[in-house]
């Protein structure tokens, strides 16, 4: 039942915020705070309550100790919905779900807080849209019925579209429509793939259902599986975004209001990775194995291309947006490496990227509110004007480039180690991306914050709300950098379950040419993850 609250609280708070906003803007803001903080507290409570179970799943070894199949959820809820089409309201949570929910509500709260001063127009409706997005995101991460998943997947596009189109910056309408259309086309391709899968399963078993756990292991021709897998891949690769489907992202992130950018970069694009982990690979493991090389190529191109383009930007927000393309390249190669190290790295990367990039977007948004430009050519020496801001920006730039001691380093390191076992080239080229990351992060700091202040800019340093937000994000990143164990423990149950699901497929077989190395690596896998990969 608690799972339903995760969706209901923000969904109900949304119209309340709108009504409250008609009386006073402050009321709408507080309703929105409550609408995101309450489920956040619930997730934390559930996490603490389940910590024992999750840790047990972690220490237990051998088959059957943990798994994703029905019966091993922390909590689940299944109710009939549209019986005549075989659709049920099926939501469930495991470790990965908890992590994603934590992220959703935490960034939702941050999105509300960072709009405290920046949004002055139609405040009620704005918070309606933010809460609605959060509700949709919670639904996406909870849904296990494929129709329900698609339902939420599409549903949260609408409020996000409005957030960009109404409260956005210069080219807001163009960016909003581009975002909408990209996601919609790819989403519909996924829908066709889902429906086709349901029919294939239905013809074989006589049971037409959208229940993911039942559709697992559906037998079909390799060619069919490959095409259906591409349908899913299209949707998730656009969301992620993977090169060359990323072009909506710089526009949407740049023109979105700060809250929109935070939700987009922090949670929305994570759906791509989540969907691949949860649905695409378990449903079509063999097809994924066939596609692996291509995906690794796309991922590596994304890493390097994103980093190079980030370096070339003059608009600070666009720069941050392109870094997302680069970081999500790591996620893509990690998912397709599909060994425990890489998967743990991917999950960690999702969290750390959300925090570091979210913080950078809040930083740019704060700057824009103060000096009304994002053009780095008009900045310079800002550290002198606002030292607290400078220091904070430096921290998050370091996080973004993967400084050891911060969560992002652990995540990217785990991914690269995992990928190494599958493809040495991808790992090497991915590591090159880290060098580029250093260049763009330092370049951004250099142009905006270092040097002499020559433009006569004067503005207030970080406010108390901002200090609070940044401090909590810094603390989280440092904690994850030195002690990622809690997160790894939480995700362990899911990762093991995922690996079991695909154990019979060619995805689990080590590549022929590197059989020796990978077999050796498999033994180390559990151990290394157990050590948490802490530097």
């Amino acid at each position: 039942m608690i799972l339903l609250w995760y969706i209901l609280i923000p969904a109900v708070a949304a119209p309340v915020a709108w009504l409250a906003g008609r009386r006073s803007p402050a009321a709408a803001r507080w309703v929105a705070v409550a609408g995101t903080a309450a489920p956040l507290a619930l997730v934390v409570a559930q996490w603490i309550a389940e910590a024992g179970t999750l840790a047990e799943a972690f220490t237990a070894k051998g088959p059957g100790a943990s798994g994703l199949l029905a019966g091993s959820w922390i909590a689940d809820l299944k109710a009939p919905w549209i019986e005549s089409l075989g659709i049920s309201f099926f939501v469930a949570a495991d470790g990965l779900t908890l992590i994603m929910l934590l992220l959703t509500f935490a960034l939702g709260l941050l999105a509300v807080l960072c709009s405290w001063r920046g949004i002055a127009e139609r405040v009620g409706v704005f918070h309606l849209m933010v809460l609605w997005t959060v509700a949709g995101l919670a639904g996406v991460f909870l849904a296990l019925d494929l129709f329900l998943f698609y339902f939420f997947f599409e549903m949260m596009l609408i409020p996000m579209y409005f957030l960009i189109a109404v409260w956005g910056h210069e080219r807001r309408v163009y960016s909003a429509i581009k975002f909408f259309i990209f996601t919609q086309v790819s989403g519909l391709l996924m829908l066709v793939a889902i429906v086709a899968l349901v029919f294939i399963h239905g013809r074989a078993t006589g049971m037409y259902t959208f229940d993911f756990t039942q559709l697992l292991g559906t037998q079909m021709a390799a060619g069919t599986a490959f095409i259906l897998m591409l349908g899913f891949f299209a949707a998730f690769a656009v969301k992620l975004p993977a090169w060359p489907l990323h072009t909506w992202l710089p526009d949407a992130h740049t023109d979105a209001p700060t809250a929109g950018s935070v939700l987009l970069a922090g949670v929305l694009i994570k759906i791509g990775a989540y969907g691949m982990l949860r649905f695409m690979v378990p449903l079509f493991p063999d097809a994924v194995a066939d596609f692996r090389t291509w995906a690794l190529v796309l991922g590596v191109i994304g890493i390097i291309y994103g980093a190079v383009l980030a370096y070339a930007q003059t608009d600070m927000k666009r720069l941050v947006a392109y870094t997302s393309v680069s970081h999500m390249g790591f996620v893509l190669i990690g998912v397709f490496a599909w060994n425990e190290l890489a998967l743990q790295g991917v999950i960690l990367q999702l969290v750390c990227h959300a925090l570091s990039t979210g913080a950078l977007f809040i930083m740019v948004g704060g700057l824009q509110d103060r000096i009304h430009t994002r053009d780095m050519g008009k900045m310079g020496g800002l550290w002198q004007v606002a030292p607290r801001m400078g220091g904070t920006a430096m921290f998050f730039a370091m996080a973004s480039l993967g400084l050891p001691g911060l969560g992002n380093f652990v995540a990217e390191f785990l991914i690269l180690v995992g990928v190494w076992q599958v493809s040495k080239w991808a790992a090497v080229l991915g590591a090159v991306g880290l060098v580029f990351a250093t260049v763009y992060a330092l370049w951004m700091m250099q142009r905006a914050f270092q040097g002499e202040e020559t433009h006569g800019l004067k503005f207030a340093d970080l406010t108390r709300i901002e200090v609070g937000m940044f401090a909590s994000m810094i603390a989280a990143l440092v904690l994850l950098g030195f002690w990622p164990q809690p997160l790894i423990t939480t995700a362990r149950q899911t990762v093991t379950g995922l690996q079991q699901m695909t154990a019979q497929s060619s995805l689990a077989q080590p590549p022929a040419t590197e059989a020796g190395g990978a077999a050796g690596g498999a033994g180390e896998t559990a151990e290394a993850a157990g050590d948490g990969g802490a530097p």
Partner: protein, 489 residues
């Protein structure tokens, strides 16, 4: 024919009586409210008699009509839509410089024509129903006769409907000449045997399909749609888009059901081409329009294309898709044109994009209602349009109509562009924005009783769209029951 048969066809009788009573009442006492009241009463009575008819065991009355569950379902849908149109018309007609009573007579006779069409199992009742519908529509389209474009639209529709009738009659004659039958079952048999290569039969069936195609306004028979939609009064446009097309589609399904069984036949391929062309052309042509009614016209061409995909998918699942999509399309289209109607003045309909600029600030409720309708047309979740598109994709995928499903996916995304463009117009403030001069008088209708009534009807329809968009199960069951009586292969 027995007394019991009269009970069975009581919905048709109730509609006829209602039309006569409104006409007589108008002769004795000119009162807009009275005419509307009797119309609504008559439609409610028709709806009530559906349950009487549903209780009868013998549903076939003469070879001409069959009042089976399928018919009753569609008559229910048509009467409900007609009632909504009547309610929306009240405020609109109040602003026109015309006497309003005859409008309701025509509305009722048109609905009678539609009801006859969906009940028809014979060429005679088919043709009769179609002519009753068309003739009523000529007069309805030109109701605001002092507007220039109304006359143009009515003449266009007249010419078109005449051509349609000619095609239909010739097609019927050929079918009869070859098979010696005029019943739906006989035609279905002819259609099923199309593969045998009888040229006369093929020509006959194709001519019938051309006639139906004109009425449905699918490509390449769509040319009249934008002009007629633009020229007709907004409530009448809503009526043409829903009742007229819906009734013809229901008839198409009854007469031509076996088309979908042979995916290799020429007729099937021709219909595939028509469906794809409608989806592509409808959505592409809508992109270039600045007139809201024309945008909705082209979008309706595309929606009929989507419906054809469902029609061409074999089996009961396809029938459910058609039925459900029609309900969703009816509700959505009524809301969309209802909004246009509420904003219109005596001299012109609110069909320019500029009329909608800043609507979100001026009329927040109306803007919200229009937004929901547009999102439903675009097939976004939480609305019935989403479930409708989903059942069509399901039906198409189930029948392995890959080309059509992919085209549907791609073109409906193109559709997003012009739907969101309208939404953006309503909500996004441009820097140079002031309330445009042309739009100012449109807001005046807000305070009137007719405006209030229309807005509350639109609000109720929006709730309907959202409610069954989230929980479509009851409607799906209803549609399943209705289409189960058709002779599925």
């Amino acid at each position: 024919m027995t007394a019991g048969d009269l009970l069975t066809i009581s919905p048709l009788i109730a509609l006829t009586l209602a039309a006569v009573v409104v006409m007589l009442a108008a002769a004795f006492r000119r009162s807009h409210a009275l005419a509307l009241g009797i119309t609504l009463g008559g439609l409610a009575a028709t709806f009530g008699t559906l349950f009487v008819a549903a209780g009868r065991t013998e549903r076939d009355v003469t070879p001409l009509v069959s009042m089976d569950a399928y018919t009753l379902f569609f008559i229910g849908l048509l009467t409900a839509a007609a009632a909504v149109v009547a309610l929306l018309s009240w405020g609109y007609l109040g602003r026109l410089r015309m006497r309003p009573e005859e409008y309701y007579v025509l509305l009722l006779t048109a609905t009678l024509g539609g009801a006859t069409l969906v009940a028809s199992t014979h060429f005679a009742s088919f043709f009769l129903g179609l002519e009753i519908l068309s003739v009523s529509l000529y007069a309805l389209i030109v109701y605001a006769a002092y507007r220039e474009d109304a006359v143009e639209a009515a003449v266009k529709y007249l010419v078109l409907a005449g051509a349609t009738s000619a095609f239909l009659i010739f097609g019927m004659a050929l079918a009869y000449a070859q098979a010696g039958t005029m019943t739906a079952a006989g035609v279905a048999k002819l259609v099923a045997g199309l593969g045998s290569g009888d040229v006369v039969v093929t020509i006959g069936i194709v001519m019938l399909l051309v006639g139906v195609g004109f009425k449905l306004a699918v490509v390449p028979f769509h040319m009249w749609t934008p002009d007629v939609y633009e020229g007709a009064p907004a409530p009448v446009t809503a009526y043409i888009a829903t009742v007229s097309k819906g009734a013809v589609f229901a008839l198409l399904l009854r007469f031509m059901l076996p088309v979908s069984t042979d995916q290799g036949s020429t007729v099937f391929l021709a219909l595939t081409a028509v469906a794809i062309a409608s989806m592509v052309a409808g959505n592409l042509l809508a992109l270039r329009q600045d007139n809201v009614k024309r945008i909705l016209a082209y979008s309706s061409i595309a929606h009929l294309g989507y419906l054809l995909v469902a029609f061409l998918a074999t089996g009961e699942r396809a029938g459910v898709a058609v039925g459900f999509y029609l309900i969703a399309y009816f509700a959505t289209t009524l809301v969309a044109f209802g909004v246009v109607g509420v904003l219109s003045t005596a001299d012109r309909d609110a069909d320019q994009l500029i009329d909608y600029r800043g609507l979100g600030a001026r009329r927040p409720v109306l803007a919200a209602v229009f937004t929901v309708a547009l999102l439903s047309l675009a097939g976004m979740p939480l609305t019935m349009g989403f479930i409708g598109k989903f059942v069509i994709v399901t039906a198409g995928t189930g029948a392995a109509l890959w080309a059509m499903v992919i085209v549907l996916v791609v073109t409906s995304t193109i559709g997003l562009y012009y739907y969101t463009r309208l939404i953006v117009t309503m909500y996004v403030r441009r820097s140079e924005e002031t309330v445009p001069a042309g739009a100012a008088p449109a807001t005046r209708a807000a305070g009137t009783a007719g405006g209030m009534l229309a807005v509350s009807v639109l609000g109720a329809l929006t709730v309907f769209l959202l409610l069954f968009g989230v929980y479509p199960q009851p409607l799906l069951r209803l549609v399943e029951h209705a289409v189960s009586v058709l002779p599925w292969p």
